[in-house]
């Protein structure tokens, strides 16, 4: 089995795992990876997890998820958020981020994504 396929399966397993520690593992190794491909897969897994903790990582953290410096990672994360069936949690986290003390760039991105979700609903 190829290494990238093994990584895919590990990320998928962490996404499905109910242990809350799985979010911190994904954040620690996946979102801090220097490889765009792995950051993208990790952001997708955190969004699909659809918990407040996992969504905070991709929405409210600077340089991760929708705030990633790579346009490919950021755009695919936004796309994954838009394809969620239940968007109630993500809307709450976006609202939180907009009213928080985060950097203005992070707040702006959260506002834009929220507007996108509103228009797409």
């Amino acid at each position: 089995m190829k290494t990238i396929n093994k990584i895919d399966n590990i990320i998928e397993a962490l996404c499905k795992h109910e242990d809350p520690k799985s979010v911190s593992i994904l954040e620690e190794i996946g979102t801090n990876s220097e490889i765009d491909e792995i950051r993208e897969k990790t952001a997708h897994a955190l969004i699909r997890k659809n918990t407040p903790e996992s969504l905070r990582v991709v929405v409210a953290s600077s340089g991760k998820g929708i705030n990633d410096l790579s346009a490919r990672v950021a755009m695919s994360s936004i796309n994954e958020i838009l394809s969620l069936n239940d968007k109630t949690e993500v809307l709450k986290v976006l609202e939180e981020t907009m009213n928080s003390e985060e950097k203005s760039e992070v707040k702006d991105t959260a506002r834009s994504v929220k507007a996108l979700i509103t228009y797409s609903m």
Binding site: M1, K6, I7, N9, K16, S22, I25, I29, S33, I38
Partner: protein, 166 residues
Amino acid sequence: MDNLKITQTKFGMFKPMSKEERQEVHSNPFGINFKGNVLAADVFESSKAKEATEASASTNPFAKMTNKSKMVASAVVGSMNSFNEAFRSRVNSIISFGKQIKDNIVNSWEFAKNTEIKLDFKGLTESIASKFNNQYSVNNLLKRPVDDLGEMFAQEHLAYTESLKA
């Protein structure tokens, strides 16, 4: 007033044209295509030849045969010949097919007699188990504790980063 009887009436206009009558309106001057047989009929007969045939018609009854009927007769003969040829070729092909099947059966029987059938159950179970007992399948990974998954993720990530650098 005379009564009209159905038997006296003629329904000539409903009579379908025979094949021979249709041949008359054929536009091909070099030969008439009849069921795939091209007849090399000389349509442009000279008037002298025609007179000669009319003269001989009185003595020879076969000379009365019109050009039209000759063509029909030759077409029938031609089609009979072609039918015979087709029939022969089909019979030959059936015979050769039968021979081929017979040879194949004999060969496969010889092959079957000399073949030893073995079932490698050990190898079969191993190959099936390798498909289902993959350590890195998502189902098997989900059974592991999160800390193990974290270690595996770190190891595989390191290996992948190094493979990209190499």
